[in-house]
Symmetry: none
DNA sequence: AATGAATGAGCCTTCATTCAT
DNA sequence: AATGAATGAAGGCTCATTCAT
């Protein structure tokens, strides 16, 4: 549902915008949000002016990056609605969200921000995700696969935390899997 | 082991140094490391010049803050050596580290940094902690209280991650406890 | 004497040029010359490119605006040549020039600039005005209606100054009239 | 009545502040407010940082310049209270204000701004001036030296306008005097 | 001819760090 | 030792102007 107010955008402009988003995503997640706008522009092969034409503020750029990530997650979690087994669906979703944010420190912050938040633009996609998570959690709990005392806030916090934990083990997939097992097992009723 | 090169430090100088560390700890953890040095100095009731006399660099100040926190943790975990029950000792230590870092986002980073690191000054205290964690982990595993396949890196990552998760639930102690339960239960052998 | 080098200009191009001049006049006089070119173009319903096709420089646009205003004044003052009573003609002209520039701060500057100047394009129309003012002043002085010691520079300065004064009283026509009376009376021989 | 909240200011700091104000006054009035802050700092022999330490904003610097000018005028006009002859006092004041602003285009704007205004800091000094002008005007009118129908707004507008007019004749003191005569004579009752 | 995206020099402002007092 | 004024390199952002479409 990409709104009404947007005009088609010329081919090259769209390409530049996309490049900027890609570069910014990469740079922000690997080196933090302190990277100068000028460097991002250069890495995207455009001038600063172009960056600021597309994103009126550095913060707006960051927001756009986060929105895109949240939307990607929302799209993926939506696919899990098809899964018939609620427990299966829930755990697949947990993995998916973690993996999406794997290796991206900033994203943990984005998700965290989604918990409280202030930026209007993030509200919509994060609400979508929250709604889906809530549904999946409920299903899994009804199926007896997840502790009943856990609520949505705890789930979100665990997602962010597990993501953060896995980032530290970046180079070692087996260790990451072990961590994920710990958390997933911990979610089950005692 | 406070080295050899340091001279006694006049009483007021020592007081200033301590105040700066306290204020910086508070400020860095609650508002991030972006807070201007001048503001820290003012909050500590000294001039910037004094701050830079004690800590030649902003980074040095941050480092000192982290060292102090790590040393505090090391001191506490050391006390747990006395605990006869290895499982008990391990879980108490886990809680302790988490609680120390609870509410302090930056500290999670400090711990994370302790995993890889670059700053020489952090090496020593973090090595101490690592050694103690390794010993406690080993004891708990021998006692059959913790999964055998987990290594020290996974433990550290889980500590950082759980700390991060609990920060999101700041205002809700019960929810925090539920999260901690999930992880602690997950650590147990299946 | 609209030179030789200009080709006829397509109908729509001429319309755009006129619109740009109108908008620029309005915008420059009400909000100052600091308004971005892009905004002027948008208000005129064209792209920036079009603006710069018609006026190679922002300064050129400002110049064109001023030339048009000067020419309008020159045209009006020319009509006063018909007036048989020299005193009448002079005072009418004074009022006219003031009223033309009333409410347009920038125009006062334009007139001021006409006194010294640098822009070649302004020279011609301002010379025309100056010549007419000189003639009217001379007539009024011969008729004994204006102090003999006043020269053209003083007249121009008074025009600009009175215009500036009246701008401050924008909302109060009666007060403006009172000011004008002061100056007009002051012009008379003691 | 320079408030209570200001601390004494070190000797060199005071010197720098004064130099900055002097330079800014000169530069703003001769070349407009568009001059880069960096240039002002350089001309004052300090770094930009120093400029911004003393004046947190370019606008604050401009404001300080204007306040100082207004206060200087207020101080001078206050001296005229001693003058026994009301007509004499009024005309002296008129001259004085004009001469203070002579050659300083921006100042006309400051006075104009004093008419409407928004900046709190300018309010006080401009109110003082207005009050004094009002008193002098009233005295002169009672003495029959100035037209009764003129109010304070008209007086202020005439001051600004006359100042503007005289700026155009900068190099020619005799011509300036002639203009002033015109206005002063015009102020008298017909 | 018109369009509007792209460009990049330049501006205001911040802040870690130095140094005169 | 302490102070806080001074410094200047960066950084975010604007806008006149150019150029591909």
């Amino acid at each position: 549902m990409s709104g009404a107010g947007e005009r088609p955008l010329r081919a090259d402009a769209a390409r530049n915008r996309a490049r900027l988003l890609d570069v910014a995503t990469e740079v922000f997640t690997t080196r933090g949000v302190g990277v100068p706008t000028e460097e991002i522009a250069r890495a995207a092969g455009v001038g600063v002016g172009t960056l600021f034409r597309h994103f009126p503020t550095k913060e707006a750029l960051l927001e756009a990056v986060m929105v895109r990530r949240l939307e990607a997650i929302a799209a993926r979690t939506a696919l899990l609605s098809a899964e018939p087994d609620p427990a299966e669906a829930f755990f697949a979703c947990f993995r998916l969200v973690i993996e999406q944010s794997a290796g991206k420190n900033e994203f943990a912050q984005a998700l965290a921000a989604a918990g409280v938040d202030a930026h209007a633009a993030l509200q919509e996609p994060s609400q979508v995700i929250r709604a889906q998570l809530a549904r999946l959690l409920d299903g899994a709990q009804r199926a007896g696969a997840v502790r009943n005392e856990l609520g949505l806030p705890e789930l979100i916090a665990l997602l962010a935390g597990t993501g953060a934990a896995m980032e530290q083990l970046g180079a070692d997939p087996a260790a990451r899997e072990r961590i994920l097992d710990v958390v997933l097992d911990g979610l089950r009723p005692r």
